[in-house]
């Protein structure tokens, strides 16, 4: 077998968006860290100076230049490695650009694709040619009033379309991003999570890490150290995750992360979401205390130093289940398989609707999973069959029976009828959002211009998961499959 060599070339610098790149050029990833004195090499960090459309007009490095006279440096100036003046649609003006660094990002922040032609860019959805001012393939979200190849909505001075899906005003997005929270501006200083999940544009929550991907819908919030979460629980819960944080890391980090997760859980709570939290068993005292704070915050419905707003909201808005646990991987596996936990895992409890009903017995796990069957490629496709199962992300979905009245929505119009098999828990935020979230390709004729709202009574079998991507639409939105719908359930 040939040895596999991986070269770590670069990684991005992120602020509220991509600010630049670091060219690491680490060839031997297995090499031991240097034991000699740390040195810093300048010139590897590249920062974008962008205009209002996100066009990186000038690229500078972290190196300062100066003319030294008689051993004394003069005024410092930036180390400019790239600059460009562009026509409105992004083609660089002859003789008025320089790209000495080979910087990869260009017009609107799209990635340059120099393998094809000058002026060619790659976006998430399609290819853009700045020389023509047109995309090379059709718009995944077409409009009746314009060609599907049109770029920037025909208004490249004001609009940007870095993903290739839909042009938007970057300055408006920036304003939205900096708005304080509705109740008290809790997150105004963080600049994160300002938009209501499900009500945001297609880009904002989607650009967050996978941890936040499922925030609109889900059944389970599981937490643990990030490596545990990503490497272990993720395998079992897949897309049902909505958040993760490590209670043993630090109060500050926990507080912030809980706020972030809480953003989703507030929403989830109204959906009867489950929530659970794990902490690092290597620091049991800290974890135990934090967990106890957490329990207190939830059961008492009061804010405290760790949980602050989130705990209050979690308790007040009635998330269905909260698990406190050690060792996320093991518990996640057992939760998933519906197996009772061994006693040595300990520290297990459940809070439901404001009252501690079980603690340290392990019985909560089976209670948490009772009535819910998970179907995935390993044990599926289940009762929906392969074809319908494949409309759920990773062909994974849960089968359950509603325990209370459940509100669902369906977008329709064109070829799609008012009642049908596919529904969502998320109130639609507009046709565009619905098309992306539910992967409604234009060729199927669902214009998503109308909304049906139903209330499913208790005792109805539903199949739930996340919409699978289709034809360039990312999906990921709440998707509920109903094998039967009674027109009397319509409430709007």
């Amino acid at each position: 077998m040939l040895p596999c060599e991986i070269e770590f070339v670069e990684f991005p610098i992120y602020g509220l968006g991509r600010e630049g790149l670091v060219r690491a050029n680490i060839i031997d990833l297995d090499a031991a860290p240097p034991t000699t004195k740390y040195t810093r090499e300048l010139g590897r960090k590249y920062y974008e100076l962008s205009d209002h459309l996100g066009n990186p007009r000038v690229i500078i490095t972290d190196r300062l230049l100066s003319d030294v006279v008689n051993g004394t440096p003069g005024k410092y100036r930036s180390d400019i490695v790239s600059y460009s003046n562009q026509y409105p649609y992004g083609m660089e003006q002859p003789g008025r650009y320089m790209n000495g660094s080979g910087y990869r990002y260009g017009y609107n922040g799209m990635e340059r694709d120099s393998a094809v032609t000058g002026g060619h860019h790659t976006t998430y959805f399609r290819q853009y040619d700045a020389r023509l001012g047109r995309f090379w393939s059709t718009d995944p979200l077409t409009h009746s009033w314009e060609s599907p190849y049109v770029a920037m909505g025909g208004n490249p001075i004001a609009l940007a379309d870095p993903s290739g899906a839909e042009p938007g005003d970057p300055e408006e997005k920036e304003k939205d991003r900096n708005l304080p929270q509705g109740d008290g501006g809790e997150d105004a200083t963080t600049g994160r999570g300002e938009e209501e999940p499900g009500a945001s544009g297609p880009g904002y929550w989607e650009t967050r890490t996978g941890v936040f991907h499922g925030i609109r819908l889900p059944e389970v919030v599981v937490t643990g150290s990030y490596p545990t979460f990503l490497g272990g629980l993720g395998d079992y819960f897949g897309d049902q995750f909505v958040g993760a944080f490590d209670l043993a890391t630090s109060n500050e980090a926990v507080d912030q992360t809980v706020r972030d997760v809480g953003q989703g859980v507030v929403n989830l709570g109204t959906l009867g979401a489950h929530a659970s939290v794990a902490y690092n068993p290597l620091i049991p005292a800290a974890g135990r205390q934090m967990s106890q704070d957490y329990v207190n915050g939830v059961t008492g419905g009061v804010a405290n130093r760790v949980m602050s707003m989130s705990a209050y909201d979690w308790g007040y808005r009635t998330p269905e289940i909260i698990l406190l646990m050690w060792s996320g991987y093991s518990i996640g596996r057992n939760v998933y398989q519906g197996v009772k936990l061994a006693g040595e895992l300990g520290e297990l409890g459940m809070v439901t609707r404001g009252a501690v009903v079980s603690e340290g017995t392990g019985s909560v796990v089976s209670a948490a999973r009772s009535g819910v069957t998970h179907w995935n490629p390993l044990n599926g496709p289940g009762p929906l069959g392969e074809k319908v199962a494949s409309t759920f992300r990773s062909a994974s979905y849960t089968e359950s029976v509603t325990s209370e009245a459940t509100t669902l929505y369906r977008v329709y119009g064109g070829k799609a009828g008012e009642l049908g098999a596919y529904w969502t828990r998320t109130p639609p935020a507009g046709p565009l959002q619905s098309r992306i979230d539910n992967a409604l390709l234009p060729q199927w004729g669902n214009t998503a211009q109308n909304v049906t709202k139903i209330q499913v009574p208790p005792g109805v079998t539903i199949f739930e998961g996340f919409a699978a991507p289709q034809g360039g639409l990312v999906g990921g939105g709440s998707q509920v499959f109903l094998p039967r719908v009674d027109p009397l359930w319509i409430i709007k």
């Binding site: 009762p383 929906l384 069959g385 074809k387 319908v388 409309t391 070829k415 799609a416 009828g417 009642l419 049908g420 098999a421 596919y422 539910n438 992967a439 409604l440 390709l441 060729q443 199927w444 004729g445 669902n446 919409a467 699978a468 289709q470 999906g475 499959f481 109903l482 094998p483 039967r484 719908v485």
Partner: protein, 84 residues
Amino acid sequence: MDNQMKACPWEKIIDFQSYSEFERFVDWMDEQVKSGVAEELPIQKPYIGATTFQEKWFRHIPSRETWRLVWPDAPFTGVFEPVV
């Protein structure tokens, strides 16, 4: 020989590419019924037990095989398959 059953020439379709393609197929199936090759049957058991999909059953008369045609409801893309 005419009273012998013939093999059904219909082919299973699990991925219509668009609603317009599906509509063309429905027109073709209507032609099959009008020409006497097929007849519509009452639905005995809905596709995966879901009454929320629009569905029709057809019998291919020469082969006596029964097939179902399930309408697309995005992201489900419709299906035409024999009833087992």
